[in-house]
């Protein structure tokens, strides 16, 4: 019976992936095992059959059909896709950067006008944020201690959340792959 390594070697030999010494080792193994030799012969037949397979030429109507369809497409349709994607991308970046730039501008003005006041304002803002986080943590702690069901439900939500994230990531990767290959979004069945 052919082991996995020997079978792998047979396939690699058919794909011209084996070094001469590995090929010799394979043939030596086949000489001493009739079952392996029979398997290799069958694989070689399949390989040969596929190599000799005929090539189907396109019917003459194909090119005409494609060209007729393309003639119906307006040039604006070709440009629209790329233009819209760039505009959306730039809009999204601007939207994300706007609050950051506003905060930075405010900080620069404050520092230029009154450095001491600016530093104290930043410290005060950070203190407020820390206070809000602390209050939120305390309220969560209180809620968790009030009922044992809440921690159990949260614990159960972790695997569900992980599954959801994995699925979302899979969908995103699939969409990216389709976009890269020029395929349309997957249709829901």
């Amino acid at each position: 019976m052919a082991d996995e390594r020997q079978t792998r070697r047979m396939h690699e030999a058919l794909d011209d992936q084996l070094a001469p010494e590995e090929l010799d080792a394979l043939y030596q193994g086949l000489d001493s095992d009739r079952h392996d030799a029979s398997l290799f012969e069958r694989l070689r037949t399949v390989d040969r059959m596929l190599r000799e397979a005929p090539y189907e030429n396109a019917p003459q109507t194909l090119a005409l059909r494609v060209l007729a369809k393309i003639a119906e497409i307006k040039p604006e349709q070709l440009r629209r896709g790329a233009g819209l994607a760039i505009a959306l991308g730039l809009g999204l970046v601007a939207l994300l950067l706007l609050p950051l730039f506003a905060a930075l501008g405010w900080l620069i003005i404050q520092v230029l006008s009154n450095p001491a006041a600016a530093v104290s304002a930043v410290i005060s803002i950070l203190g407020s944020i820390a206070g809000v986080i602390l209050a939120a943590v305390q309220s969560v702690q209180t809620a968790l201690l009030s009922s044992p069901l809440i921690p159990a439900a949260l614990l159960g939500a972790i695997p569900a959340g992980l599954l959801l994230l994995r699925r979302l990531r899979g969908n995103r990767l699939d969409r990216e792959r389709r976009e890269r290959l020029g395929a349309p979004p997957k249709e829901e069945e």
Binding site: S38, M49, E52, E56, P59, T61, A63, V66, G81, E179
Partner: protein, 208 residues
């Protein structure tokens, strides 16, 4: 397999092809027509081998070219145009097969008649061509779409493991595994007696 030889994989990208692509991006439909005429056999053969139906293969090939045309701006000139358009076609065919929910075709089922090239072959050659094409198509139809695509790209287009992985957007080891399993499955389906018959037939036709 003339078309296979003249359109083999791994060749440097022809500057004429790049000029046609650039012209097509700029709206020259005649340039895209040249691309269609150059690659129609390659795309159609892939679609036919994947779908086992001439009418559906023509529809799929048309769709692949349309998608290529609409997405020409996304084409990377560093990559072979043929590889790019074949990757669009193979992914489209895989989607079609998945939608069909894997309707397996028996090896014994008759397949639709073949469309032959304009060169009028001898009747005996036609019979051999039909028989061989039918047998291979029957065996291919038994494979899962991903396996089928790997086998077709390997044998009809002579792509390397790496090139097939690029086309099907997966890893080289996954392609090796698919190819090995697919070949094994075909060998198992074929059986010893059928394999011997194929081999004898092949020897006879080569000796003739």
């Amino acid at each position: 397999m003339d078309a296979q030889e003249t359109q083999g994989a791994g060749a440097q990208q022809d500057p004429v092809i790049l000029d046609w692509v650039q012209a097509a991006i700029n709206g020259d439909q005649d340039a895209f027509a040249e691309l269609v005429y150059t690659y129609q056999d390659a795309v159609y053969n892939l679609c036919y081998r994947m779908l086992s139906d001439h009418v559906e293969a023509e529809d799929a090939a048309q769709e692949a070219f349309l998608r290529a045309y609409l997405n020409l701006r996304r084409y990377d000139p560093g990559r072979s145009f043929k590889t790019w358009v074949l990757s669009i076609a193979s992914n489209h065919c895989i989607d079609r097969l998945r939608r069909r929910r894997m309707q397996y075709v028996s090896i014994d089922d008759p397949l639709p008649s073949l469309t032959l090239s304009t060169n009028e072959p001898e009747p005996e050659d036609v019979t051999i061509f039909h028989e061989q094409s039918r047998r291979i198509q029957g065996l291919l139809s038994e494979l899962a779409p991903d396996y089928r695509a790997a086998i077709i790209l390997r044998y009809w287009y002579d792509y390397s493991y790496l090139e097939i992985a690029d086309i099907l957007d997966t890893t080289e080891s996954a392609i090796k595994s698919r190819l090995f399993r697919a070949r094994q499955m075909i060998a198992d389906k074929l059986g010893d007696e059928a394999a011997e018959a194929v081999l004898s037939h092949s020897r006879l036709t080569q000796g003739a």
